[in-house]
């Protein structure tokens, strides 16, 4: 019992420290948000998406921009640990390394989902769709949970490579693609009036991803981080 409490305390402490750093700089979230907005605009322009098509696109653009923005957040979250070898400090601490994983993943989840929730009204406005619905927010949170836990795992892999600054997206995108597709499909379905129940297969897919990736973090984070 005290073991579980100590474990949760460790998760909480890792998470809390990330919040503290973010609060100190107040940079990560604005950067992510602006980046997401930028992608929405960039694509519209560069791909000259035709107006009639745009309704169906809202879901796709929401997730693509969120995925990119989230990658920035993931990168920052791990590069924070790299400077001054702060990660070694975490590794020295008498806490399970999987607790470090969950702490980092929790932080990433919070930042990305905050950005996602802020995106909803904005995308609603620009694409004449009402994305401000509860089931949609639920799908968003679930999708972000799956994406960021995978991302946290892979970011720990990527910083050990020589190209650490740029490797993460290359590792993350292809592996996250099923999750992203499922999330886009579920969102699109919700927008076209289907209920969550009708879209349950997509939702289960995302849920399975979230569980799997967190399990992978639990199992492999220790192995990934030893030198």
């Amino acid at each position: 019992m005290t073991g579980v409490l100590a474990y949760l305390a460790a998760v909480w402490q890792v998470f809390r420290k990330d919040i503290q750093v973010e609060w100190r700089g107040r940079q990560g979230i604005p950067v992510m948000l602006v980046f997401a907005l930028m992608i929405v605009f960039l694509f519209n322009f560069a791909l000259q998406l035709s107006p009639d098509l745009q309704a169906g696109l809202a879901a796709g653009l929401l997730w693509v921009s969120l995925a990119f923005a989230s990658t920035l957040g993931l990168n920052r979250s791990i590069s924070l640990e790299r400077e001054n070898n702060a990660l070694d400090g975490l590794l020295l601490a008498p806490v399970d390394r999987s607790a470090v994983f969950f702490g980092k993943a929790l932080g990433n989840f919070c930042f990305t989902s905050l950005v996602g929730l802020l995106l909803l009204p904005i995308v609603s406005l620009f694409y004449q769709q009402n994305l401000l619905r509860l089931p949609l927010a639920a799908v968003l949170l679930l999708g972000v949970a799956a994406y960021t836990s995978l991302g946290t795992l892979l970011s720990a892999l990527s910083i050990q490579a020589r190209t650490r600054d740029i490797l993460l997206p290359v590792l993350l995108f292809p592996l996250a693609l099923p999750i992203l597709i499922a999330a886009v499909e579920a969102t699109r379905g919700l927008l076209s009036g289907q209920t969550l129940a009708e879209l349950s297969s997509w939702v289960y897919l995302i849920l399975a991803g979230a569980l799997l990736f967190n399990a992978a973090g639990l199992l492999f984070f220790e192995i990934i981080l030893e030198e």
Binding site: A6, A9, A10, Q13, V14, R16, K17, Q20, V21, R24, G25, L80, E83, N84, N85, A86, D88, G89, L90, L91, L92, A93, P94, V95, D96, R97, E222, E226, E227
Partner: protein, 240 residues
């Protein structure tokens, strides 16, 4: 930094330890035993493998071969053992954007220290960091960061202390204070292993000296017996 940090005796036992990077062996069948109460100075040329050895003992690097036991268990993947280790490396291992104090508080919490705030306040006072405790680490000078790193590593009063060139960047006053702390820290229930290039100042404090040469410990003897090892003695005295 109270007395006797662990209920049982501190102990380090290394047998046949090898570490290769790529194919190049850095440590090659190294054996070393440190007993409760030892304050052992680790000397050796640049690239001898001192940092590698300390990182293996801290559980940060997995050995290629051989046995490493810290207080009876391998330090790899063992939170209970990690709890007993304090390590000061070449890098301060702190967060640039947090202040000195916030970093210490973070570590205190991570180690689950009961009176975290108090311990941190003591450490800040001890290392004379009060003047800049609220500055982000990013803006601290090298010596200030080194003090922070020393404070961090000793915060949880560990039974095993691993110091990698701890005097780096410290000014006279801080270095003298650190030497005194060493004297205070060196008690039953604790082992201190300290890598240094100019250990002369420490010979009055230390109990042992170990010489890392060609991947193994070529000499390991009490400071009092230094006279009987002319080679090591001349290595230590080379320039003073």
């Amino acid at each position: 930094m109270a007395a006797n940090p662990t209920p049982y005796a501190a102990h380090i036992d290394i047998g046949g330890l090898s570490k290769r990077f790529q194919h190049r062996p850095v440590l090659n069948g190294l054996s070393l035993t440190l007993n409760d109460g030892d304050l052992c100075i680790l000397v050796g040329d640049n690239g001898a493998g001192k940092t590698t050895l300390l990182r293996i003992l801290a559980g940060l690097v997995r050995p290629s071969q051989g046995e490493v036991s810290v207080c009876g268990s391998s330090p790899i993947g063992n939170p209970r053992i990690r709890r007993m280790i304090g390590y000061v490396g070449h890098q301060p291992m702190v967060y640039q954007d947090l202040t000195a104090r916030e970093n210490l508080v973070h570590y205190a919490r991570l180690y689950g220290l009961a009176k975290g705030e108090e311990v941190v306040a003591d450490a800040i006072a001890a290392f004379n960091m009060a003047g800049y405790q609220h500055q982000p680490v990013r803006t601290l000078s090298r010596g200030m960061q080194q003090r922070l790193s020393l404070a961090r590593a000793t915060l949880h009063n560990p039974a095993i202390l691993l110091f990698d060139e701890p005097h780096t960047g410290l000014d006279q006053e801080a270095a003298a204070f650190f030497d005194q702390s060493l004297r205070r820290l060196n008690q039953p229930g604790r082992i201190i292993l300290l890598a240094a290039h100019r250990p002369q100042r420490l010979l009055t404090v230390a109990t042992h000296v170990a010489w890392l040469r060609e991947g193994a410990i070529s000499d390991h003897l009490p400071v009092t017996a230094l006279g009987s090892a002319p080679l090591l003695n001349s290595y230590l005295q080379e320039v003073s």
